[in-house]
Assembly symmetry: C2
Homo-oligomer: 292 residues x 2
């Protein structure tokens, strides 16, 4: 059993690679980016992973392939300031999730129903059922995570990060079972601070990680492919290097897969860019073979 901790695109791509290379894959996804909007419950990271695993991710990098945006167009026509775009079928998924949660379903159950509806055989688990919401302080103001990312265009420097609600979150039974059964735990190449960080911050989760842990660096040739990883690592006080990634995960990792050697930790040096499915499978295969 391979357990992958994943946030957004990098983690989701590796998940797709691992799906073909692992006997059994279980993804634990960040839910601190979730938001309630349009009467819906949006879980960007679990959905991104699910869409990738279902081969339904759109070319634009988020949302369902070929989705339309008629509801958003309708809201704009009514004069709404539509800052968070959601496709029509994506909205259906999130409206259904909101309804299931209102009916008393756990987030784990609601996310699993979507996974099954899309025909994905690997499980996608939220890190916790309790609501955790990342807030980011920049230019003296606190912003809910999605508003920081979209309305503020993730403009740093980041002054502070809060994972609101994290103290009430607990690893779900499904997460604890996955970690218990894991032969190897892979930390995906997602933002270490705001994507992987919330997962590791769920009280009791880190202690339940007893298998070997290998991280895949989100840095490609010393740079970040997507998202504000640089801004958040800077806030965390770590450089944009393999050593910075290793330092950020200090005490957690048995090894790092990166395109640059880290001094403090066993490193598999390889190309970690995952531009196509062949590359995703290759990285997945190398990670599984390396797991020290």
């Amino acid at each position: 059993v391979v357990v992958l901790l994943a946030g957004g695109t990098g983690g989701a791509k590796l998940a797709r690679g691992l799906l073909d290379e692992a006997d059994e894959l279980i993804v634990i996804a960040n839910t601190a980016d979730d938001l309630e909007i349009y009467g819906a419950h949006v879980s960007p990271d679990p959905d991104l992973v699910t869409f990738w695993l279902a081969d339904r991710i759109d070319e634009r990098g988020w949302g369902l392939a070929g989705d339309t945006f008629h509801v958003m167009d309708g809201l704009r026509e009514l004069g709404d300031d539509v800052w968070f775009n959601l496709g029509d079928r994506d909205l259906a998924l999130c409206l259904r999730r909101a309804r299931r949660l209102a009916e008393g379903a756990r987030l784990t159950e609601a996310i699993d129903e979507a996974r099954q509806a899309l025909g994905v055989k690997a499980r996608v688990l939220p890190m916790a059922d309790e609501p955790v919401r990342t807030h980011v302080k920049a230019r003296g103001m606190w912003h809910p995570f999605q508003e920081f990312m979209i309305r503020e265009r993730a403009a740093g420097p980041v002054e502070d990060v809060e994972l609101r609600g994290i103290e009430h979150a607990r690893p779900t039974p499904e997460v604890l079972d996955a970690l218990e059964r894991a032969d190897v735990i892979v930390v995906g190449p997602s933002n270490p601070v705001i994507s992987i960080g919330p997962i590791l911050a769920v009280p009791g989760l880190r202690e339940a990680m007893r298998a070997r842990v290998v991280a895949v660096s989100p840095l490609v040739r010393g740079a970040v492919l997507k998202g504000p990883t640089a801004e958040f690592l800077a806030w965390a006080g770590h450089p944009l290097t393999s050593e910075g990634i290793a330092a950020h995960y200090a005490g957690l990792l048995d090894g790092l897969v990166a395109d640059e050697r880290a001094e403090s930790i066993p490193t598999l040096v390889t190309d970690v860019e995952m531009a196509d499915q062949e590359a995703r499978r290759r990285v997945a295969r190398e990670v599984l073979a390396f797991a020290p």
Copy 2:
């Protein structure tokens, strides 16, 4: 000022005719058919009137012309039993309304924003801001109105009708002002029991109707064009005749416009079918000229 009490299709068609024939038209619409679903607040009667007035009604007789149904298709793909169909732009309208209500807006305001966004110059007023919900008893079971209409296919006989919440409803200031300013009040050719009935049942509304009142019969050549008017009039104990309509509105009307004379009340006998805009204007013109 012409004030029209309207429910569904018949009232909405007459509203469209009156829009061209009256100096100023204000529609008071039934909201006892409203429902909360998909995180949205659906107001079928005010919206039907608004779509007709905006020349945006779809050929199918409800919803916005040319609307798509991708969110509903998405819900079905996820395994939902989608019993209430709502187009994507229609959903946008109703999601926005739910949000505005959650923000503390009155239903009057939320409905007026849609009216303005669609460029309709006649005001469309909900009968009350408070929630009123029609429930129908049939075959020994109580059904929320839309579920009775759609899931139960309006299958009678109707055993009982309840307007839940009506005792807490009050005519809005806008409704009282409209009735005060009315030169004539027209009762539209909508279902007298479940479309017009809730409007007249709002405590204090009927007493505020001081202008002359003319009803347009919903019967065309002794038959009902659309909807379960026969079943509800039968429950109310009135025959499907002009006399039955007059008896149902006893004490309210100064005149009736119908294609069959009523004995108990001044009647303008004319063709009340409104198959096209020419017919809608003709009926509107005749109603305004007749108003005794």
